[in-house]
């Protein structure tokens, strides 16, 4: 249905979020920080992109959310990866690996 390029763009962000959450439940702010650290400061996700994406994957039941308290005692909403979310992450990582492999092989070929 949707455009493949649009899928790619969204899919990437979705995968980053799922990856971040695969290390344990986290709130929105934490997800942005974790993605930044995991990418060696190379990837910064905007809040304006994060929340719509979070809500979307929540609606797809890849994550579930629950209000709780963070380490400093602030109220925050924590997101947890679900079983389907894990499966989705595995699939996306596999396809990324395939893509990376293809791209790498093509580059070596020249």
């Amino acid at each position: 249905m949707t455009n493949p390029k649009a899928d790619l763009l969204q899919g990437t962000l979705d995968m980053l979020i799922l990856k971040a959450l695969s290390l344990g439940p986290l709130h929105g702010y934490g997800i942005i920080q974790r993605i930044r650290r995991m990418s060696d400061e190379m990837m910064h996700v905007e809040q304006g992109a994060l929340y719509p994406a979070l809500y979307r994957i929540e609606q797809r039941k890849w994550v579930k959310s629950k209000w709780g308290r963070n380490e400093t005692g602030r109220r925050a909403k924590f997101y947890t990866l679900t079983k389907t979310g894990e499966k989705q992450l595995n699939e996306e990582e596999a396809s990324w690996d395939r893509l990376a492999l293809v791209v790498a092989k093509m580059r070596e070929a020249t």
Binding site: A6, Y51, Y55
Partner: protein, 874 residues
């Protein structure tokens, strides 16, 4: 109910969801500020930096909310609000689209309300499908003595009644004399229809016999008008035709059956008038089937009765049968085909309107492309976008429908006023619930029809291209869709135009039919002379003609019994010296009793012999004038002049044929197969003792050399001078009578023509719009061509050629559709075939010319493109 509750919960949930998002974003902000403080910022700076990094909080919230979404109702309201804002933002678009839809939906609503009133709505009687009409033969009428023989046979019907609708009465003795419409009925009339009198009682068998005390039921309107709705009227006498009738009751307000009647009177009182078994005095019979009996069972039983009647009365009943027709079919059956044709046509107009609005939406879709791309990029689903666009379409359709209902309400009233009597029950058309439901359904369907393709189109976009800028991204496929719409519009329009063209042609062919008389400059009116003294009647008629003839502007005057296209008697006739026809097989003719001036006044040409003169009197030998049809049919190889004609097989009174005149069209102009023989007797030869029986309803005719209706009041004054109690009614010109006789045909023709022209207008707007848009899209290219030296004519030809290519494909498809569809109109046409080449050719040329013009305007604009402006364009 359950879903409704869920919807309401969703509305409440909206606040909860928004609140939740709000909380979450705030907690995020605070954590960000905490982090800033940790690296040593001041509280104030920490907050400000956090906010800054966050961007526009409200817009994030909105976008986040859009993804999480609300319930069905919430989304709907949101889309509606957005839709309304957009409508106000583009008032030009809104105006054109709403007007187009209002006309399309309005026309459909108007026609459907007529179809509903005429064809769908049952007659307002209990169990209407049990009511049937009985007819002997095709004329729909029944011989009264035959009816009297079986009317009380309870093995046949539960209840029956004879009805003679077109009676008239002089009402006197209560202020101004008034001519009343009356109907004669049997005692079982109201019980057959299962209607109760509003006041008083129904007729009983004892009222319905010769010599009974005369009784009458009043219509609600007459009771109101003349008696101020006085309930004490029941039991009081009123004077009709100089005779006293006791009012036994008042009919309900909405009571209606066949023609309207002010007074309803038992037919049995005047049974003597109808005692000839072989005659057809215009009586119709309504009956209610026995409970649980089918029409077929009643028909079988009726066949047995008629077989018996045939044995008993061979002279009148040989070959006579009676047929049942459901009441609804009997009264409105003839209106079905014209109405369904109109409904179909108006549906096509709506389709064209949809195509036009879809075109407009496609153009607007291109301007909203960026906005839609951004939303898709942010994660709005395609379904969500389509849904929002469709909500906008439904909104447009509903606004159009609301205006359309107003238009339709006005339109049906207008049609009913303009064309009275053209379609039965037309005046009852109104915006009742069923019509409004139809309109609602039509508008939802319309919204889907014109909204779906553009919505699918707008939501299917190449994201990166669209975001980058190009409106050119998918312009190609949009142009394809628009082209397809144009082709459809042209094809539909051609079909409608051909249909209208055929009806217009038929109408003019009917107008050209020679009726056998000259209808121009003739004023007619009816007077009913109710005077038992024949000598007084005789002198009244002679004096009246004398006085009217002396009025300035009057060329000739006549009185007649029987008038073309209005009324006539149809007795049997016999010719002396010819073999007598078998019992029951005697030929029937139209009989007119006329004064000597009739032929000149009506402009009926003499073919041979002479017409009546004042010298023909009751004491000279009786003479008759016959028409060409009778002459040819009865005297194919001999001269009819001098032969004798009689209305009875014993030739007790025989009339010598002295002249032959042209045949006149008696029933309608558009049925050339019905050409009954006709003969004329002279009023002057009726002896005074027989005159009163022949003057219940006579026509006074005058040919004028001024505008005929300008003489109306002068003639009325002459009549009043002779007898101040003499009622005059049905004052009409002969032209009016001709025009009324073709009113149903004019009704279909005019409406279909209006629809076809509306379609033509919409289609040309569509072509114009599409071509203008195409030219605007290609301004740069065209400018380039001109800069590079392409002659402007080439550009003109290119643009026109493209538009005309679409138009011609449409024309070709339209021609195919027309060939298929006009066949269903066969019965509505007259003197023109369903594939009339002239109509097809001229319509095709006309449509092509209009299309050419619609292409030419944008094409010319394209040639005026200044190269430099064009290159800078975009």
């Amino acid at each position: 109910m359950k879903t409704l509750l869920a919807r309401i919960r969703a509305l409440i949930r909206r606040d909860a969801v928004l609140h939740d998002i709000d909380d979450e974003l705030r907690s995020h902000l605070e954590m960000e500020a905490d982090a800033n403080r940790e690296v040593g910022m001041s509280d104030e700076d920490a907050d400000r930096a956090a906010r800054k990094s966050f961007g526009n909080l409200a817009s994030i919230k909105d976008r986040a909310y859009e993804v999480r979404g609300g319930g069905f109702m919430e989304t709907l309201l949101q889309d509606l609000r957005y839709g309304i804002r957009l409508l106000f933002k583009h008032p030009g678009f809104t105006l054109v689209a709403v007007a187009t839809l209002a006309i399309g939906i309005g026309a459909n609503t108007a026609i459907f309300s007529i179809v509903n009133a005429v064809l769908l709505r049952p007659f307002p009687f209990p169990q209407p499908d049990q009511i049937v009409m009985v007819s002997e033969g095709a004329g729909g009428i029944v011989s009264y003595p035959n009816f009297a023989d079986w009317k009380d046979d309870r093995n046949l019907f539960a209840s029956t009644s004879a009805v003679r609708s077109n009676e008239s009465y002089n009402f006197t003795g209560g202020g101004e004399p008034e001519r009343l419409q009356g109907r004669l009925v049997s005692a079982g009339f109201l019980s057959t229809l299962k209607v109760r009198a509003l006041l008083g009682r129904n007729f009983v068998a004892d009222d319905d016999r010769p010599g009974a005390i005369p009784t009458v039921l009043l219509s609600h309107a007459f009771w109101n008008r003349r008696f101020n709705a006085d309930p004490a009227i029941v039991g009081r006498p009123i004077t009709l035709n100089n005779q006293s009738y006791t009012v036994v009751g008042v009919l309900p307000r909405d009571f209606q059956f066949d023609l309207d009647a002010d007074v309803t009177i038992p037919i049995g009182l005047s049974a003597d008038r109808f005692k000839a078994r072989g005659a057809d005095p215009g009586i119709i019979v309504v009956a209610r089937l026995l409970p649980n009996a089918t029409e077929q069972q009643a028909q079988v039983a009726l066949d047995v009765v008629y077989a018996r009647l045939e044995q008993e009365y061979p002279s009148s009943n040989t070959g006579r049968r009676a047929y049942l027709t459901p009441m609804h079919e009997y009264f409105v059956g003839s209106a079905r085909q014209p109405l369904l044709t109109l409904l179909g046509s108006v549906g096509l107009v709506l389709l064209i309107a949809c195509a036009n609005v879809a075109n407009l939406l496609l153009v607007r879709g291109s301007t909203r492309k960026r906005e839609i791309s951004v939303r898709v990029a942010l994660g709005a689903s395609r379904w969500r976008i389509i849904r929002e666009l469709l909500t906008g379409s439904f909104l447009l359709a509903l606004i159009g429908a609301a205006l359309g209902v107003l238009l339709a309400d006005w339109g049906t009233a207008f049609i009913a006023r303009q064309l009275p009597g053209s379609i039965p029950r037309l005046a009852e058309a109104n915006m009742e619930l069923r019509v409004l439901l139809f309109t609602l359904g039509a508008s939802v369907l319309t919204g889907l029809l014109f909204g779906l393709a553009p919505a699918l189109h707008a939501s299917r976009l190449n994201l990166t291209d669209a975001l980058k800028d190009g409106d050119r991204g998918s312009a190609g496929s949009r142009q394809h869709l628009r082209s397809a719409l144009i082709v459809c519009e042209v094809a539909l329009t051609l079909t409608l135009l051909v249909g209208a063209g055929l009806l217009i042609q038929s109408f003019f062919r009917v107008m050209q039919v020679d009726p056998g008389f000259r209808s121009d400059s003739v004023l007619t009116m009816q007077v009913s002379v109710n005077n038992p003294d024949g000598n007084q009647v005789d002198s009244f008629l002679k004096q009246l003609q004398e006085n009217v003839r002396r009025l300035p502007g009057v060329k000739s005057v006549a009185v007649s019994n029987g008038l073309p296209l209005v009324t006539v008697n149809h007795p049997t006739y016999f010719i002396e010296g010819k073999p007598l026809p078998k019992d029951g097989a005697a030929p029937v003719a139209n009989r007119y009793t006329v004064s000597p001036g009739y032929f000149q006044t009506m402009g009926i040409e003499l073919v041979k012999g002479r017409i009546f003169t004042p010298q023909d009197t009751p004491t000279t030998p009786p003479v008759a004038v016959i028409d060409e049809v009778l002459a040819q049919r009865t005297f194919p190889n001999e001269d009819p002049i001098g032969k004798r004609l009689s209305q009875s097989r014993d030739f007790r009174s025989a009339y010598e044929i002295v002249g032959i005149v042209r045949h006149v069209e008696q029933y309608n102009l558009d049925n050339p197969t019905i050409r009954p023989p006709q003969f004329y007797f002279s009023f002057n030869q009726i002896s005074p003792d027989r005159l009163p029986g022949n003057t219940r309803r006579i026509n006074l005719l005058l040919r004028t050399d001024v505008e005929p209706t300008s003489l109306t009041s002068a003639v009325r004054a002459e009549i009043a001078a002779l007898n101040k109690d003499q009622a005059v009614f049905n004052v009409r010109t002969m032209d009016d009578i001709v025009s009324e006789s073709i009113a149903p045909r004019r009704f279909s023709m005019m409406l279909l023509t209006v629809f076809a022209l509306a379609a033509l207008l919409l289609a040309s707007i569509g072509i114009y719009g599409t071509m203008s848009y195409a030219v605007a899209q290609r301004t740069r290219e065209i400018g380039l061509r001109i800069t590079l030296g392409a002659p402007r004519e080439n550009v003109l030809r290119m643009v026109i050629g493209e538009g005309m290519k679409l138009a011609l494909i449409g024309v070709a498809l339209g021609l195919i559709a027309s060939f298929a569809l006009t066949r269903t109109m066969k019965n509505l046409l007259f003197g023109v075939s369903t594939t009339d080449p002239l109509t097809f050719l001229s319509i095709t040329l006309m449509l092509a010319a209009v299309a050419l013009f619609a292409c030419w305007i944008p094409a010319r604009r394209a040639t005026k493109v200044a190269p430099l402006v064009a290159l800078r364009y975009e």
